[in-house]
């Protein structure tokens, strides 16, 4: 099924013409309303008028996550706050997070795109959707929520956590669709089985999973555990949230990028040069219709490959393969994106430890587990030489990591030797 037949099956020529028109419009808007773009385009000696073809987009400088941080909190907004109706944000301490804003029309577009995604997964108004994506500042839960309501299905806004309750609801409410991060889905399956519930005999028939790197092997494991079809959804908080691209039930190979709203390019992450469609590289997104927070040539850091062959589902939009690699040091832990530099920023503010650490990521059952080794400083227990002081420092680290990054690590205080032996800042033992 196709939700927005007119736009999702637009012939490619017409789609390209629409993209160019929208690109020229958005460039006009950002050039005159957002200081950052005026500066960067002036520096590149171009104006919005320089862009006469889609290929000309390559003349426009990239925008990076660092640019987003530099303009924290509202520096890149293209409309006044009076026109903004919602704010979302990434995790992180002040100046290291990013804030994303939406006008009423942005939310309508987003809802349309999540509705498209859900229909591509075969959903209709008879479905009951167990939405275990996180509701809150991160855009995952709310983003899908409105799409589910839009298509007339019933949404259970369960969010993440409270696993036993979730399993009870999966049994009692009989949802037909599960939305979650792949690792949380597997965790539900394991916990349910441990509680003696037959997770294969629930009413679920399809699952929509994303916001983590996950492999075909994980997909097989989820499909087996719940006896469902598992589909991949793609989103970037910076660009919009979930619903930028969605795998269709018919094709089940790669996610259709909704190209009437986004332009995707593949670049060589080292040189920044544009690669031919179909080659593996870093994906760069341009949002064509966003009013409050348009991003032009945003470097996602996600490494993938575009699939240009037509899809059997009838959608004309290009597909992207599942993301299995990053071009930077971003880590996704239980669906939350964090950077090592954010951990450092937290440790810097805590007296008694040095901002030297080693983070060890592993799986505890299906879920990500974080062990954080932090170097005690020379003044660590000060006068008292006490256990209490050190335990308070440990608690403070756990609390700040939870408060700022929504990560609950196991903290272990260590001496400098141990970190030296360990070498790297991040040891990722997880398999995806």
């Amino acid at each position: 099924m196709i939700y927005n037949e007119e736009f999702e099956t637009l012939p490619r020529e017409a789609l390209k013409a629409l993209q160019l028109k929208r690109l020229q419009q958005v460039l006009q808007r950002v050039y005159y309303t957002v200081g950052f773009y005026k500066k960067s385009m002036d520096a590149a000696k171009i104006t919005p008028e320089s862009i006469q073809s889609l290929k000309d987009l390559q003349k426009v400088p990239f925008i990076t996550r660092q640019d987003l941080r530099n303009n924290y909190p509202f520096g890149l907004f293209a409309v006044p706050m009076s026109n903004i109706v919602r704010l979302h944000a990434s995790s992180g301490t002040s100046g290291r997070a990013s804030v994303f804003s939406y006008t009423r029309r942005d939310l309508d577009t987003w809802t349309d795109l999540t509705a498209r995604s859900l229909v591509a997964a075969g959903l209709n108004k008879n479905d009951i959707v167990h939405n275990a994506f996180s509701y809150g500042l991160l855009p995952g839960g709310l983003g899908l929520h409105y799409g589910i309501e839009k298509i007339g299905a019933s949404v259970i806004p369960i969010s993440d956590g409270n696993t036993k309750r979730q399993i009870t609801i999966l049994q009692d409410f009989g949802p037909t669709v599960l939305c979650a991060t792949p690792s949380y889905a597997l965790h539900l399956a394991q916990e349910g089985t441990a509680m003696g519930v037959n997770m294969k005999s629930l009413q679920l028939r399809v699952g929509i999973f994303g916001s983590e790197l996950w492999s075909d092997a994980t997909r097989d494991a989820i499909e087996e555990a719940f006896n469902i079809k598992a589909l991949n959804i793609f989103g970037l908080s910076e660009i919009m949230g979930p619903g930028i691209a969605m795998e269709c039930l018919e094709g089940r190979r790669g996610m259709h990028i909704f190209e009437d709203h986004f332009i995707v390019e593949t670049i060589n992450p080292q040189t920044g040069e544009t690669l031919p469609e179909g080659e593996e590289g870093e994906l760069v997104f341009t949002s064509l219709t966003r009013e409050a927070f348009p991003l032009i040539r945003y470097r996602s850091g996600d490494i993938s490959r575009l699939i240009t062959e037509p899809c059997r589902c009838g959608r004309t939009h290009i597909r992207m393969e599942r993301v299995l690699k990053r071009s930077d040091d971003m880590l996704t832990i239980r669906g939350i994106n964090i950077f090592p530099v954010q951990v450092e920023a937290i440790l810097k503010d805590i007296q008694g430890v040095e901002p030297h650490y080693q983070m060890i990521l592993d799986k505890e059952g299906a879920l990500d587990a974080v062990e954080l080794h932090v170097e005690v400083s020379d003044i660590f227990f000060g006068e008292a030489g006490g256990v209490k002081e050190l335990q308070m420092i440990e608690k403070r680290i756990v609390k700040d990591m939870k408060d700022y990054l929504s990560i609950s690590p196991r903290v272990k205080l260590v001496t400098p030797q141990t970190l030296k032996e360990g070498g790297k800042k991040v040891i990722d033992k997880r398999t995806i």
Binding site: V376, D378, F380, F381, G385, K412, T415
Partner: protein
């Protein structure tokens, strides 16, 4: 009248205490008495040694996190009620003990109890007034 104790942070992993005692041995440092406080993840080794400065230095050079802590040593007859006499006084004066450990002198006559107070000055005053024998650092290191 105060005594300096060396406090050493130890990770809870095999060999970390052995490493510390090896450094002390190699530097010819004699331990007068010691105690270890432990949690699930780490321990703190508390040492009274014959040479505080040297111990501080060599352990730091070996990569340990070390701090000096002020404690108070009190000598009591090694007999029933020895410790209780002190505790009674401290309780009356509302002086809190953070931790303590003890050892028996070579002669076998007396015990020495090492106290960590949050206010060592006040504790010493009170103990002296009550005629307890507070052992000065210099004497203790040479015991």
């Amino acid at each position: 009248m105060k005594v300096e104790q060396i406090s050493v942070f130890l990770e809870n992993k095999p060999g970390s205490l052995e490493h510390a005692t090896r450094v002390l041995k190699e530097n010819n440092i004699n331990i007068r008495t010691l105690s270890i406080a432990e949690t699930v993840d780490f321990g703190i080794l508390r040492l009274i040694v014959n040479d505080v400065e040297k111990t501080n230095q060599v352990l730091k050079e070996a990569g340990f996190r070390v701090s000096k802590t002020i404690v108070v040593a009190v000598e009591v007859p090694d007999q029933p009620g020895g410790l209780h006499g002190i505790m009674e006084v401290l309780q009356k004066e509302s002086i809190n003990v953070e931790y303590l450990y003890a050892f028996v002198e070579k002669s076998g006559q007396n015990a020495v109890i090492i106290f960590r107070f949050d206010d060592p000055e006040k504790a010493i005053d009170v103990l002296l007034k009550q005629k307890f024998t507070v052992v000065p650092g210099a004497k203790l290191y040479e015991f």
